[in-house]
Amino acid sequence: MITPLYAQSLLREGAVMAAVAVALIGLPWFLTAIGGYSELATPIVLWGIFALGFDILIGFTGLLSFGHAAFWGLGSYAAGLMLLRVTDGFIPAVLVGTLVGAVASLLLGYLTLRRRGIYFSILTLAFAEMFYYAALSPLQQWTGGDNGLTGIPPADLCGIAMKGEAIYYVIAVTAFIGIYVARRIMRSPYGLILRAIKSNETRVASTGIDTRRYKLMAFVISGVYAGLAGSLSAVYQTYVPTDALHWTTSGQVVMMAVIGGVGTLFGPMIGAGIVLYLANVLSGVTAQWLLIQGLIFMGFVIFLPGGVVDAGRRLALLLSRRPAPTDKRAAGTVSVHPAQAE
């Protein structure tokens, strides 16, 4: 039965997704307008998908993993190797890459989630670094070593070559679906449990819930997103660098999540845009762009831990002079148009 409240929330959801669609379509044009270049939109959305999944882990479940580059990188290599050696079909390559991300995160999650806190974080880092160094040297035959995986042919989707505009739209559609799925997950009872675990795991465990299982599921979901994004990246770049497995890649997604705003799903995607814009456009202007990026990151951690999204919300509050909304509406329900948040 559709009650007025239900209809209202459906409408809201529809409006949010419509805004997302508009943002995704308009992003390339927007980038050109602010001194970037339209092709930058593709890596931004790719990293946005990665950061989205990562937010489920850090923003909602409260787990800081420094090893997610492993799933992004493994997904990239798997998809790249598929295209290089097996078939140039787009779907099989991406499917295999995502699957590899899923399996790897299941394995790694099972091992690392036995510990908590800083030990968990360091364990994720240790395992990811193992993959990186393995790809660099012993497995060179497969991964191309320091060269990376070169000469990947363009993937083929129903006869259309996946590059340029075509691939951007495919990736944008994937991102759209990804956002929708993520929002559904987070607003389900499952998402509620995850958020409860973040705020007080002991209490949740005392109600009889197997928190480890839920944490593992969250870990795997974020691994799937990472693997998916990594595979798409391999298709887009027609190249896989070994850096894809390096801890700096993990560090980059952490920065995106924090700058954008953890626990908001959209925040990390905005963060992806900001970080990549700085990396690609600012780097042409000054040699100190990394310093600026680091300072901005620190600034957010110190003063605006809620990220850009939180800053935007506070600004909106200030401007509208309405009483603050209750916390229930805080996480996961933000519908900020990405362009407005700047």
């Binding site: 850090i58 409260g62 800081l64 091992l111 036995r114 510990r115 908590r116 806190g117 800083i118 030990y119 974080s121 360091i122 364990l123 880092l125 240790a126 395992f127 670094e129 193992m130 160094y133 393995a134 660099l136 040297s137 012993p138 801890w247 560090g251 952490v254 924090v258 040699a287 100190q288 990394l290 310093l291 990026q293 680091g294 300072l295 990151f297 620190m298 951690v301 110190i302 831990p305």
Partner: protein, 290 residues
């Protein structure tokens, strides 16, 4: 592979481990007392190396060895006062993030000031000619590093065991809250300990610089293995840091003989195995961040 060869390789492992140990000592001291995971520790090492180069170029090595640790002590205190102390009550994740950001900023700052290329930080002249130690020729400076590390570990032990301040620090590592109830000025102690940790990193930097080279990215390069050393040894355990530092140093050195491509991977492998088998580390206290 005769005994002399093996001994040489073991000695190299000792010397590799020595640098890890020095950095790990500061890390574990800070964590054990303040509960802060200091991702910027590698950057402090890097600053120590840069200052070591700059000062030794200007006034010679001995001056640098004395001045640099003192400078790092001051820098450490400044960082604690200006930044770290606001994060004691924030979640651990935020501490990691802010020190991670600090590390990046410090790294880029040094790159801006000194440039990205390697600065030729040389050892004192008497340390350039290799010495015959019976089992072969060895660079004397690396022996100095081992010696200094032993001296520092010894001095730290004596300080913690036999001074009042050391007593307070050890108590603080066990139970900082209780310490506050006893009327001890905890914030001041915290500042001092952070400075002490930075001083240790400074010593590591000024004597390790000639070996690691002086570039902005050496900070992060030594941080990850040092972190593993701390975690394997047990966070907050100083003997643990020494033990695991040696263990990892030898693992790295011996892996070259057994299977060279594994040299990079071996420390992560050891870390993963130890953490899964003994989650609190080799000598760590039970219940600490389990």
């Amino acid at each position: 592979m005769n005994l002399a060869n093996l001994s040489l390789q073991l000695l190299t492992g000792l010397q590799i481990g020595a640098i890890y140990v020095m950095i790990a000592l500061g890390l574990t001291l800070i964590f054990g007392t303040l509960g802060v995971v200091n991702f910027a520790h590698g950057a402090l090492f890097m600053i120590g190396a840069y200052l070591g180069y700059a000062i030794s170029e200007a006034t010679g090595h001995w001056v640098a060895f004395i001045v640099v640790p003192v400078l790092l002590f001051v820098i450490g205190i400044a960082i604690e006062r200006v930044l770290i102390r606001f994060f004691y009550n924030r979640p651990a994740v935020d501490q990691i993030l802010v020190t991670f950001g600090l590390a990046l900023v410090l790294q880029e700052l040094m790159r801006w000031i000194f440039g990205g290329t390697n600065l030729p930080y040389g050892t004192p002249d008497w340390a350039i000619v290799p010495v015959d130690i019976g089992i072969g020729y060895y660079p004397p400076w690396r022996l100095v590093i081992v010696g200094v590390t032993i001296a520092v570990v010894g001095a730290l032990y004596l300080f913690l065991r036999f001074t009042r301040f050391g007593l307070v620090v050890r108590a603080g590592m066990r139970d900082p809250e209780m310490l506050g109830y006893l009327g001890i000025d905890v914030p001041k102690r915290f500042t001092f300990v952070f400075g002490l940790g930075a001083l240790l990193a400074g010593i590591a930097g000024v004597i390790g610089g000639p070996i690691t080279g002086v570039t902005p990215d050496i900070g992060m390069a030594v941080l990850v293995p040092s972190f593993l050393v701390v975690v394997i040894g047990g966070m907050g355990s100083l003997p643990g840091a020494v033990l695991s530092g040696l263990l990892l140093g030898e693992a790295v050195s011996l892996s070259v003989l057994i299977y060279p491509p594994s040299t990079q991977i071996i420390i992560y492998l050891v870390a993963a195995v130890v953490l899964l088998w003994r989650p609190r580390g080799l000598l760590g206290a039970r219940g600490v961040m389990e």
